[in-house]
């Protein structure tokens, strides 16, 4: 059986954290494209055609929410699973959770301080 490497788009503004996540996900068998900004994420998604997106909400200039509205506006990308992996704590995220889950079809939310690398990989395994 042929096995095609699944592609992950990682939108993460911190280069050090992105390095650890990228290394862990590559080690788990994924092809990872890391980008820092919302604009770069849109361009990369076009080229990469990801199977999964991990997205931080707190970015410089345009936020992760702005990226997601743009991302979901294209029919090709409307069903690609997106997991929020963010420093925004649950109490703040939950305030807008329903809107995000239904309007932007968010598959999951992971709070960075509470989420291990193994859990990130588990989510990738579950959604790809």
């Amino acid at each position: 059986m042929s096995h095609q490497t699944k592609r992950i788009l990682l939108l993460e503004p911190d280069s050090v954290l992105a390095g650890s996540l990228t290394a862990g996900l590559i080690n788990a068998g994924y092809d990872v494209q890391h980008v820092y900004s919302a604009q770069a994420a849109v361009s990369s998604a076009d080229r990469l055609k990801p199977d999964l997106v991990f997205c931080e909400l707190q970015l410089t200039a345009h936020s992760g929410i702005e990226f997601l509205y743009e991302f979901r506006s294209y029919s090709d990308w409307s069903v690609i699973p997106v997991v929020i992996y963010s420093s925004v704590p649950p109490v703040e995220f939950n305030a807008s959770r329903n809107g995000l889950t239904y309007d932007l079809k968010i598959s999951g939310y992971l709070y960075k301080p509470d989420t291990t690398l193994a859990e990130v990989i588990d989510w990738a395994n579950k959604l790809t």
Partner: protein, 239 residues
Amino acid sequence: MSSPIPGSTLSQQLLLSVAEQLKLPLIQIARQAELAAVGMTADLTQICTLAENGLKLIDGYSLGLQLANLSNYELAPEAVSVASVLYEADEQLKALARLYNVELELNISGRYEPVLAHRQGLQAAIVGLASALIEALPAQASVTSQTMLQLATHRCRYGIVAGVYANLPSLSSEALRSGRRLYGRSRQPLVEISHTGGAGIFVADAIFKAMKLKLHVSRHHRLYGLGVVLQPSSQLALV
């Protein structure tokens, strides 16, 4: 018993900002250490650098508290060479800059007289400013060339400036003013500049305030930065 800490200088907002900022190095360390758990090698040098960065932020905050609590007499400034302060700061920042792939430049070629300042406070503030910008620079969408941060001193009409500079056009006086209003209340008080809370900048702001100085947005050699104007030591100028 020591007198109460002036609330306007080192407020609860600053403590919140520092606490929030410290999550970043702790998460970075945790994820890096976890690589070993998934069968990879954790980079111990990186872990060490990240821990030291977090400790410097705590030290800067503590120093700001101490300086704010000193009387004018106790705070007596000394004659300080800005070049030597920037050199020391550069040494402290090298590992962090390397980790973030930021080229750190030291521009201390001008021969300026010593200034009046609290040396330790000035150095901690410069390190705080630079650390915050080092973390923020790689994510700047507008930065296309090699990311660079310059520690520089130059003369202006009001005195001698010590500051940190980068190719960061979004670093404006309005952005700093807005950040001062929002820090501790907003998760990203400097949203056009940093994805973090930028606590190092506000700790530096508080340290300068305790030293009766003011952090300004500053330009130098087509770069945008944050700096403080220092007064030359007239005592040594007579020598």
